[in-house]
């Protein structure tokens, strides 16, 4: 766990898509329709996922093409787009799953490939993009207002495990 690194992913934007027409809107994007609670990756960290029949998330690089496709759907009937504004982080390095055992009850070792995981981490509701393409890193996000606390807390834990 000596090479663990926590970074703020500030070059990403995240969208929450809701509404009866949301599945059609997502289905029309070039990235394709994601499965429920599965990651549908379309770039390095960009992905879509579904968390309900009419609920989707999209993460893309700021100004990314898929996000642009999505934004063009704004205003369409029964399609509601909400910029999530989540605090986004990338934790990388071998042993990140081991480090996670200190902050969340979720067992990442037992996660399936490309799961979209939602779990409580250090007291904060957090989602995780676990990708088999990137076994040594995880992208995760939480409510914007918890961002400073989570970053500080995780940084402390990382320092602690590095010292072990």
């Amino acid at each position: 766990m000596k090479n663990l690194k926590l970074e703020k992913a500030q070059n990403l934007e995240m969208w929450h898509i809701r509404g009866q027409a949301a599945p059609a809107a997502i289905g029309s994007l070039s990235c394709g329709t994601p499965e429920m609670f599965k990651i549908n990756s379309f770039s390095n960290l960009g992905f879509t996922t579904s968390t309900g029949r009419t609920e989707f998330y999209l993460v893309d690089e700021k100004g990314g093409s898929v996000a642009a496709e999505l934004k063009a759907k704004a205003g369409e009937p029964d399609t509601f787009l909400f910029p999530r504004q989540d605090a986004l982080f990338v934790l990388s390095g071998e042993g990140w799953k081991e480090m996670m055992l200190r902050v969340t009850a979720f067992n990442f070792e037992a996660a399936n490939d490309n799961d979209f995981v939602m779990a409580n981490m250090a007291g904060v509701s957090t989602w995780f993009r676990v990708s088999s393409d990137d076994p040594n890193q995880v992208l995760f996000g939480c409510d914007h207002t918890y961002g400073p606390y989570l970053y500080e807390t995780l940084s402390d834990v990382i320092e602690e495990v590095k010292a072990l």
Partner: protein, 972 residues
């Protein structure tokens, strides 16, 4: 004299490294791997502590911390468990629960008063006279407790972590190691936990000299330590079992919260003492303790021993003692040694005198045992004290039976019954996901223990995969291992049942005679098993005594409930790393730069006020003045923010709020009051209508999550076509308030702020500083104001921009306290401050917010019933100008004719009115404006105030419609 033996085959000490410790000023040397107790013994010190009640001198009993005879302390730790904690170089310790040290404890003669200190004496003897109770209470409190707490202790938290495995094996003795090996070889991920510093369990101390198990030992240890599928944790205690095999493991580095698919309990047994006169004198110990001393630490327990035995293990211990050079003067076998098998013959062959059907009646010796007196047992199992045989000895070893470590099996609701054949409790059936193996399962033969563990491991591994297993398990032994009643009375008592609590046989019997004939009741009354070792060495004997006294069977008598924690667990381990989630708005840096003093509001940190004036009150008043006369800005990002949309969104909002929302015009706002099914006010906020099918709804700070959950639940229950999104953290909000609000904001936005385009209670979307926003003209503080709702990523820029662009008119950020005062002047209610868990809208003076003509809203039926039943009402009140008495406070009571007649919910000194004003409930529906009320203050004084109409400030609401009185121009 050296107490250290030659090197033992499986000793835990590293003779190449010495350590030095100091106990009560006496320096001692030991080896790395020595415990504190073994170091003391190696240095000829057998006095390890004083007992809790009578302060009797105590030596090693279990040598495994199944008693607390060796409990010490230092400045870092209140309790240092000498039997199991390592002697670390430089450690300085002193005895626990002594005044003047272990040797010269001032209370060392207290047992002379034991006839007055009977069980429960403080319930009886100290009850009268009543006037002396405080005196006795002080004495008892000063005497009670073990160890002195350092009030300057700084925490010492150990981080917790989570762990997952297919099979968790508790206990790394022969059965546990075999279970771990078998499970891992079946493909399971295994965690093996043992409280001892090294794996091996009884193999390495009870069977250390048994060459027949050498191969099995090597095979098991190699397999466990070299299999990457097995994670081994030594010096680690499974402290409890919780639902779904959720088990905290307390390790030296903190607690691991393990979720195990399957659990194998290979927890073994605790050896139990025989009860006889002075069985606590140093030198009297369990036979397994002597074996631990020899095998683990190469300590010779004594020079000359006497033993009392009731099983084959006693003879195995005798052989170990003989091999260590201890002379055994006598063995009292409670039954017949001919029934013990080969080991007894070997002992006898070495010339040891064995007394069949004998027990130990008493021992002599003050600081250390000097002799033991044996008596034969008669047909009724009692000692015939007319025929005594006294043998000199400096050690007495007891091997009369065992109690299984079934604590966590009880916790997981295993069906545990007393097996009279073996003489111990044993699980008859186990819940799914739980296995028991080895001696805790009644399997005693060492080869059977290993086979039982292996079978359990295979079964657990198969169960983890959802498969059946045909693994064979040996049957429990049919040889009795524990004597039915190794307990002997003595006219001089001092025959201890519980060493932790100094409970003698007569104490326990007297408690039973007093009517405490239920095992749980007698435990509480007598305190048997309530000391730090929690009955590990006393519970089984207690059950046997009570069963005999009541004439019931062991099963009928039952066992006490074994609750977590299995061993005392440091608070710093339970606490773990502190995860206290904290929410900050993006404006936090600006608040800090403006000298905000923060307060907690749920998980949020909010500016209470900005520290710009000499006193807190002056800060608050200056902020209030800025809003009333110029311009202020407050961060209200903590409001809950929920969007509701879909074809049935209007219906949802109508059902959630007491006011009708479906008739609201697009681009308008409306006050939102929410009640529960009982008609009690639970929340309030503002609803904005964006579109026919789209609403934006704010909640009070702290209730956003519960409001959202309630909304989601009802949408599903009602089957309406609507959806809700909680945007509390995504959106931030600030309120720009004051007569200059419009004048200063207009140049910064593309929204037309004119009264015609943007009237009071309207909402508009557009941009501020080019950032997308929703502006809402609401007036919580009673002045012209705009709530600016924006994306979190834009909030800081907008806030800082407003501060900069409005600096020319002296804009001030204002905090929660100024806002509370401003809204109080305006007579606005704060939900949960001016309401309580019973308040309905009629009591709170808000009948205007309840639209009964709607088809339905939550709480409607209750409010229909409650409406004619009001018995209290919220009023405004004012103190006379110039009042300079004690400060009135929230929750001060209203008094009328000597009776409580209401209470204050909000009160503050208003600089606008130059007097105290506030809100209060008056429990008199005839109370009216102009009436005098009496308020009882902290000092008991009654002061008079007057009920006045609400709002106090700007009753016509002109200030919120701006330009009135030329306020903007006046300030400009």
């Amino acid at each position: 004299m050296s107490y250290r033996l030659q090197e033992q085959p499986f000793e835990w000490i590293d003779r190449s490294k010495t350590v030095s410790i100091e106990v009560e000023g006496r320096p001692m040397k030991g080896f790395a791997g020595d415990t504190i107790s073994s170091t003391m013994l190696a240095n000829g010190v057998i006095h390890m502590g004083r007992s809790f009640k009578y302060h009797r001198i105590r030596g090693p009993l279990s040598f495994a911390n199944h008693d607390v005879n060796a409990l010490l302390e230092n400045s870092d730790k209140t309790h240092v468990r000498g039997d199991v904690e390592l002697a670390e170089d430089g450690l300085k310790l002193k005895g626990c629960n002594t005044i003047g040290g272990i040797a010269k404890d001032k209370f060392r003669h207290l047992s002379l008063l034991s006839r007055f200190l009977v069980v429960g004496f403080y319930y009886k003897g100290l009850f009268k006279p009543r006037a002396l109770r405080p005196f006795w209470e002080r004495i008892i409190r000063e005497s009670a407790g073990l160890g002195k707490v350092d009030l300057n202790w700084r925490g010492g938290r150990k981080s917790k972590r989570y762990g997952f495995c297919d099979v968790l094996v508790i206990g790394a003795g022969p059965a546990g190691m075999a279970a771990a090996k078998a499970a891992a070889e079946s493909g399971a991920k295994v965690m093996l936990v043992d409280e001892n510093a090294q794996i091996g369990g009884s193999l390495d101390y009870q069977y250390a000299n048994d060459d027949s198990v050498a191969d099995a030992r090597k095979e098991l240890k190699d397999a466990v330590l070299n299999n990457e599928k097995i994670e081994v944790h030594t010096s680690s205690v499974a402290v409890g079992w919780y639902t779904d095999n959720w088990m905290p493991i307390n390790t030296p580095n903190g607690i691991i919260k393990v979720r195990a698919n399957q659990v194998v309990m290979a927890t073994g047994l605790f050896e139990q003492p025989s009860i006889f006169h002075k069985n606590d004198v140093p030198g009297v110990m369990l036979a397994s303790a002597a074996q631990r001393m020899i095998a683990r630490y190469a300590i010779k327990p004594c020079e000359v021993a006497a033993m009392v035995v009731a099983n084959e293990d006693g003879y195995r211990a005798a052989l170990d003692l003989l091999k260590a050079g201890v002379k055994i003067n006598a063995i009292a076998d409670l039954e017949d040694h001919e029934d013990r098998g080969e080991l007894a013959k070997q002992v006898k062959a070495q010339g040891v005198q064995i007394y069949d059907h004998h027990g130990i009646y008493e021992v002599e010796g003050k600081d250390r045992v000097s002799s033991a007196t044996l008596c034969p047992l008669n047909a009724s199992g009692e000692l015939d004290t007319t025929r005594k045989t006294t043998v000199p000895c400096d050690g007495v070893m007891m091997s009369v039976g065992w109690a299984p470590a079934t604590h966590m099996l009880f916790q997981c609701k295993a069906d545990i019954k007393y097996d009279a054949t073996i003489g111990q409790f044993r699980a008859q059936s186990l819940p799914e996901g739980m296995f028991a193996a080895g001696r805790v399962n009644g399997v005693f033969d060492i080869r059977d223990q290993i086979a039982d563990g292996a079978g359990a491991g295979q079964q657990a591994a198969a169960a983890a995969k959802g498969e059946a297993s045909d693994a064979q398990r040996p049957a429990p032994t049919t040889v009795r291992q524990s004597h039915d009643y190794p307990i002997f009375s003595h006219p001089k008592a001092k025959n201890f049942l519980d060493y932790d609590e100094d409970i003698q046989l007569k104490d326990f019997l007297n408690a039973a005679k007093e009517g405490f004939d239920n095992i749980e009741l007698i435990k509480r009354f007598s305190t048997n098993g309530m000391g730090p070792s929690q009955g590990k060495h006393s519970n089984m004997n207690g059950i046997r005594i009570l069963a005999k006294h009541t004439g019931k069977s062991i099963d009928e008598t039952g066992s006490t409930t074994a609750r977590p924690m299995f061993h005392p667990t440091p608070v710093g381990h339970l606490g773990g790393r502190r995860f206290r989630a904290e929410r900050l708005t993006p404006m936090q840096p600006s608040h800090v730069a403006n000298k905000a003093v923060f307060m907690e509001a749920g998980a949020w940190l909010r500016p209470e006020y900005y520290d710009t004036e000499p006193t807190r009150q002056e800060c608050i008043h200056a902020e209030t003045k800025a809003v009333r006369t110029g311009l202020g800005i407050i961060d209200v990002s903590t409001l809950g923010k929920i969007e509701v949309f879909g074809p049935d969104a209007p219906e949802v909002m109508d059902r959630i709020c007491t006011m009708r929302m479906s008739n609201m015009q697009i681009g308008m706002t409306r006050y939102a009051l929410v009640t529960d099914e009982a008609g009690v006010i639970t929340d309030d906020g503002v609803v904005v209508r964006y579109a026919e099918d789209h609403f934006y709804y704010t909640t009070t700070t702290g209730s956003s999550d519960s409001a959202f959950r309630t909304l989601q639940k009802h949408i599903l229950e009602w089957g309406l076509k609507a959806e809700a999104v909680n945007r509390t953290g995504q959106l931030q909000a600030m309120n720009l308030a004051g007569p200059l609000a419009r004048k200063k904001l207009q140049p910064l936005t593309d929204i037309d702020l004119s009264e015609e385009n943007f009237p009071y209670l309207a909402a508009r979307t557009g941009h501020v500083f080019g950032k997308p926003v929703t502006l809402a003209r609401v007036g919580f503080v009673g002045e012209l104001g705009y709530e600016i709702h924006c994306l979190a990523g834009d909030a800081a820029e907008i806030w800082d921009g407003l501060m900069k662009e409005c600096a020319d008119v002296g804009i001030r950020p204002f905090g929660v306290e100024a806002q509370r005062l401003l809204r109080l002047e305006k007579g606005h209610v704060i939900v949960t401050q001016d309401t309580d868990g019973l308040t309905n809208p009629y009591e709170a003076g808000m009948p205007w917010a309840v639209h009964m003509k709607k088809d339905f809203f939550i709480g409607q039926r209750s409010l229909q019933i409650l409406k004619p039943m009001q018995s209290r009402a919220l009023h405004g009140f004012m103190f006379p100008e110039g009042y300079n008495g004690a400060t009135p406070k929230e929750c001060h009571l209203l008094i009328k004719d000597g009776e409580i007649n209401g209470r204050i919910t909000s009160v503050s000194f208003s600089p606008t009115f130059n007097r105290y004003l506030g809100l209060c409930y008056v429990e008199d529906m005839d109370a009216k404006v102009g009436d005098a009320i009496q308020i009882r203050l902290d000092d008991g004084a009654l002061v008079e105030a007057e009920l006045v109409s609400l709002p106090f400030y700007d009753p016509e609401g002109k200030r919120q419609t701006c330009d009135v009185d030329g306020a903007e121009e006046k300030v400009a």
